[in-house]
Amino acid sequence: MGEFKVHRVRFFDYMPTAIRAMAFNAHTERLALGRMDGSVEIFNFADHYFQEKVIPGKDSRSIEALCWVGGRLFSAGLNGEITEYDLENLRPKYSLEAYGGPIWTITSNSQGAHLAIGCEDGTVKLFEVLEESIQFERNLDRQKGRIISLSWHPSGTQIAAGMMDMIRVFDVPTGRAVQRLLVDRGFGGSKSRETVVWSVVFLSDCTIISGDSAGKVQVWDGHTGTLVKTHLVTKWDVLALSVSKDESSVVVGTSEGTVIQFQFIAPTLQQQQDKEWVRTRTFKNHTHDVRALAEIETAIVSGGMDTQLVVRPLLEKFDERSHASALRKIQFPHRNLVFCAKKAGLLLFQFPGQLELWRLGESDGHGKPGDSLPLKRKPEKLLHLKRKGEDHICCSALSSCGGWLAYSTMSSVRLYRLQTDNNDISITKVPKLPKILRSAHQLCFSSDSSKLFAASSQSSVLVIALSQSECKYVHTLKPKSGSRQPIHLMTNSVDGKWLATANSDCEIHVYNVQKLKLHCIVPVYGSCPSAMGIHPTTNNLTMVHADQQIFEYSIVEKQYTDWSRKLQKQGLHNLWLDRDTPVTHVTFNPKNPEQILLHDMHMFCIIDQSLPLPDQKTQFYNQMTLRSLSEQERPSHLHAFKICKTFQDLLSVSLLDDQSLVMVERPLLAITSQLPAPVRQKKFAT
């Protein structure tokens, strides 16, 4: 197939922020994840844990807890506000001051009618959930000391509140505190420190389970207010608790990074009636505090300071070992943070707070495969552009000529003109953008840099014409489906004729940009597209979905191509389908129209459409084998998927016009090394 010169880039200092809160909506199978920077991510657990939506953070916002009420998502934080999110426009719908000081926790009753929040001033406040908003209803009896954690009894008549050194049980109708459960302090030096009840759960049989800063998981009888059992699980804090839907299992997260499962089982086979809470399993998938936990039907989901989301399937829920029963770690976002100007050889890195523009280095040497070439010019950071305002950057774009740069926050879009004269670079902000261009979910420039496309609300796309002198609104492309979901993918053709968009409803629209009208809708597939691209010569749209399926759709003929049909008929190789990170980029080789370039976090792949598709018996990862074969033998072993795993932790792969590849790696070790030190644990011989 051939040799490639690869720019191996590791200078993108992408740093995800710690996971602070988590809420799982069992009805929609969506997991809401709150991070320390105030951003909220929605994962679709029904669709291969695909990161469907990202609501960018804001400097002043903090998320201490998340809570679903039906399909509505609420958060509360130490800024004292309750926020409801607009999941269609990916922004807070409204924020409400609770007037109780910092809010530590928010939880809804099972009926979905009320929200309870725990405040620094010692009050538990009840809010009524209305159609479009929420309304303060009343305070429960005010206590001395902050309310750290809350849990409703499933009947909705009682609330357990974790506080300092104690747990209070409130009667909701009267607002009175009916029980006071005293929580012991730790031993030794920690005796003088107050015990923080980080988490409580209130079960239907009135059992209360608490996790506290002294490392204890305690089981209480809520009727009598007596302690039933204490499990000392760690020397550090027990931070998070989550109960399974059937209340037979509780998982706890600790500062040591462990997740410990307790199950309500009979200790012996003989006495099946006398069930008790027994510590059963310990999982160690984190290096740092486990701050957020959710026990879902078949798995334990955990996240914390080490920034990764871990889905740990419970193996007893699976009949056979399969793709679904494998441990999954989600470390990188399922969207692009790197943009490449193919003509100019520039890279744009998107951070929440700034953009970085880099020029790639150069080498004039030639070398054998496996060699590192001597650098003639080192890569250079051309620009460090800080965002304006409190809102974090949600998307950005760089034109392929390198002359234009745009980014959007929740509140504004900014467009810059870049001029590079040899080594000098000048940046000019384009003034007076069209007023309609307020914010965008996605931005992209046409390949001739004459247009800017901005994905707007309700899956619409604004078309902006760019010229040296002015910047003019041209048209709004609207889908016929009337979908209200945001666009998360957008790509256009090299000839400037076609624009394809994909939204969270899995709809893919193709617009004719010249005629400014909808051209066609690609048949909706059940899994969300994670990457797509339009072929520069054939104008075929290649789509890769979260379930790893690949489709090729001829825009001109408005139908799937033969190759796509053949691929679907034969089926993808199991090893391809078993990969656990989605493909996040599709690009093409203009010099070799047969080639489609794809990548996910762990591999880079070139699909050669001229070669036979691999069947299940074919050796799928065959590069090593091919290397060892003679040139005569090789053709008989070739198949379409050429997979290279030399590069790991990939954030982006693009092909420059000079046929060299740009691989942007962000080694996980580098992320880990920037984390704060984990709690000290005594290990052997230390």
Binding site: V6, R8, E362, S363, G370, S372, L373
Partner: protein
């Protein structure tokens, strides 16, 4: 081994007129272990701080009065008690300045001694044998005192002491009456008195000194006669109550000291522990001049362990308190710290201490001194009678031949062959006890002649003497060196096998010689056939390479778990087993035999080490070899060692150490993969923030 350390002078002494009188009546302890209460022979009691060598207080009685018994310390009231003019008991405290102002009580009879010991009340022993507790006496000083010893028959007390043991209190005193000596054992509470007659020594001389100590619920009485014999008698603490009359006190000979010319005059022996006796006022066995030595003898081996010359006249007094010997000599009272260690040999032979544990006799080829001296049962008085009987019997059986003295004369001039014959004859008819002494004298004489007369060397006679197993190195220190000098390796081997007390310096000299000797020189020498054939077997087995790791299943099968059944031959083999590992024995057969003998010689490590330094570097084996040897020894003897209480601690330490090492390595083994990954990762570390590489896809 025992050591006498550098002594120091506690105080000066006033010369007395009479040569036989001492300037000191007694030395006693008080409540402070560093104090000594010294009572001089006239009027003064002085309290010394021993380590500082300075007096802390001194009390004297008026001119004209006389202290008639050493001052003692009442441990219960912290008062000092002394008797002046036989009848006046004085009690005072340390802070009292004048003895005259102290408490006085006059009793109705003459007091012999006041005795006091920690844990017991002071007792007063009257000259006529009555005993009173001090308290009860002082409460009624004028109470009538009965006579135990009859005045008419002139029975007088010669020596007394008291012993406090297990809530029992004894007063022991010896008396002399018409040349007979008696021991009285007075028990207090309830009061019983037992009288024993001491066996009369042939010379009819009175004992020079007594010393009593308590061991294993027995009172051991040690007494020294002018002819140098040290006897021991044992009286049970739980004595035969109710036996009337005078019992004979059986005795056993613990030591026969060389007395040189004449008899001992002013000498004294004191038991330091079960195996060591300090004797003052005796001549040094090799110096032969003057009787002014302080010596420590090992009674088990009859060996001299330490000696020190005491300048000036010795009046035959010695006290022993808390690791210090107090000896008045000349014009000074000297304090000499001492130490009696149990040498490794002693513990190897330590039947006295652990009669229950069978010690393999083959492990150290030495005669059993206990059998020799006391029969199998130590301190068993009846055995003495047995041995005396057998002695008589053997004497009657013996054929007329040259006496020891005649043979000694012969050795001085006679030819080698005749000497050998006569020695042979003498040895073959001699009985055990006499043999030991005569053998020593014969050997010394032979060696002395060889040293003077280089042409004379009687290997046969010497070998015969050594084979009697009655000889030890300290009896004839020059023998082994003489044998080495004459390259008489057979005799060397015999000595190494049979002498229990070869000093480490001599062992090292042997080792050095054996290593240095060319193989050709030794190969023609005839050695003890058993050891040679054994070594032959070993070398042959080693050459077959049958045993590589020191583990021999056959041996393990032979190692019975029954502690009483310790198979001698297998164990003997075990001992030498490691030689197997020398796949090709690096030295010749006979040399190996000799080296093996050296290895089996008893030694004391801290004494051996300095001499080992004398070995040249090429002669010293490497650490690896030493460790291998130790490991193999452990392997070979593991089952035996497991049974031995002494080895238990070491084994369990070794085991835990090895366990931790194994654990460490197994943990390391677990991360081996990771470590290899690290190794692999090394080149990839070079990947910096940016590089341009070439890849090829097929």
């Amino acid at each position: 081994m025992a050591t006498l350390f550098e002594g120091f002078t506690l105080c000066g002494l006033v010369q007395t007129q009479s040569a036989s009188d001492s300037a000191i009546q007694g030395i006693e302890l008080d409540g402070d272990s560093d104090h000594a209460v010294v009572t001089d022979s006239t009027r003064a009691v002085t309290l010394y701080k021993v380590s500082d060598q300075k007096p802390l207080g001194s009390w004297t009685v008026k001119q004209g009065q006389l202290l008639t018994c050493p001052a003692v310390f009442n441990f219960q009231t912290n008062e000092y008690v002394v008797v002046s003019d036989n009848k006046v008991i004085r009690v005072w405290k340390e802070e009292d300045l004048h003895l005259d102002k102290a408490f006085k009580a006059t009793v109705s009879a003459d007091v012999w001694r006041v005795h006091s010991a920690p844990g017991g009340e002071p007792v007063v022993l009257f000259q006529r044998g009555a005993v009173r507790l001090l308290d009860s006496l002082l409460s009624a000083p004028q109470q009538p005192i009965e006579d135990i010893l009859s005045e008419e028959e002139k029975e007088v007390i010669r020596w007394s002491t008291n012993i406090v043991a297990e809530k029992q209190h004894f007063v022991l005193f010896t008396t002399e009456q018409k040349g007979e000596h008696f021991l009285y054992v007075q028990r207090l509470n309830p009061n019983t008195l037992q009288k024993y007659r001491l066996e009369r020594e042939d010379s009819r001389a009175p004992p020079l000194s007594f010393s009593a100590s308590l061991r294993d619920k027995h009172i051991n009485l040690l007494y020294l006669y002018p002819n140098g014999c040290v006897y021991q008698s044992v009286v049970a603490v739980q004595g035969p109550v109710g036996l009337e009359g005078v019992q004979a006190l059986p005795r056993s000979l613990r030591l026969r000291l060389p007395v040189g010319e004449g008899e001992l005059g002013a000498a004294s022996a004191v038991a330091l522990d079960e195996a060591h006796v300090a004797v003052v006022g005796m001549p040094h066995p090799s110096a032969r001049t003057g009787k002014d030595f302080l010596c420590i003898w090992n009674t088990n081996f009859q060996t001299l362990q330490a000696d020190k010359e005491m300048v000036g006249r010795i009046c035959g007094q010695v006290w022993c308190y808390l690791g210090k010997l107090f000896v008045p000599h000349g014009k000074a009272l000297s304090v000499i710290p001492y130490e009696c260690q149990k040498s490794s040999l002693a513990s190897a032979l330590g039947k006295l201490r652990h009669p229950g544990i069978a010690v393999s006799k083959s492990s150290v080829a030495i005669p059993s001194w206990n059998t020799l001296l006391h029969g199998d049962q130590p301190q068993g008085p009846t055995k003495i009678v047995d041995s005396r009987k057998s002695k008589l019997r053997r004497k009657s059986q013996s054929a007329p031949a040259l006496t020891v003295d005649q043979v000694l004369e012969l050795i001085k001039t006679g030819p080698v062959e005749e000497v050998r014959r006569e020695v042979e004859a003498l040895v073959s008819r001699g009985d055990a006890q006499d043999l030991q002494l005569s053998v020593g004298r014969l050997a010394c004489q032979l060696v002395a002649r060889s040293q003077v007369e280089t042409a004379f060397y009687a290997p046969g006679a010497l070998a015969r003497l050594v084979k009697t197993q009655c000889l030890c190195h300290s009896m004839c220190p020059d023998l082994l060196l003489l044998a080495l000098e004459h390259k008489d390796y057979f005799l060397c081997q015999l000595c190494l096998q049979l002498f229990p007390d070869i000093p480490e310096v001599v062992t090292c000299a042997c080792l050095k010689t054996f290593i240095g000797v060319p193989d050709d020189d030794v190969e023609m020498v005839s050695l003890e056939p058993d050891s040679v054939s054994f070594m032959e077997g070993l070398v042959a087995a080693g050459a077959r390479g049958g045993q590589q790791n020191g583990f021999s299943p056959a041996l393990f099968e032979e190692d019975s778990c029954d502690p009483h059944h310790q198979p001698k031959p297998p164990q003997h083999q075990d001992k030498k087993n490691p030689t197997l590992q020398l796949e090709v024995c690096p030295v010749g057969l006979r040399k190996a035999v000799l080296l093996n003998e050296v290895l089996q010689t008893p030694y004391s490590d801290n004494l051996l080490v300095p001499h080992l330094k004398d070995l040249n570097a090429p002669q010293v084996i490497s650490i690896q070899e030493i460790i291998d040897w130790v490991c193999l020894l452990l392997d070979a003897h593991f089952t035996v060692l497991v049974m031995a209480p002494d080895a238990k601690g070491l084994l369990s330490n070794l085991q835990s150490f090895v366990k931790s090492q194994v654990k460490l390595f197994s943990e390391l083994g677990k991360i081996e993969g990771s470590l290899q990954e690290l190794h692999k990762m090394k080149p990839s570390k070079d990947i910096s923030q940016y590089s341009i590489e070439v890849i090829e896809l097929f």
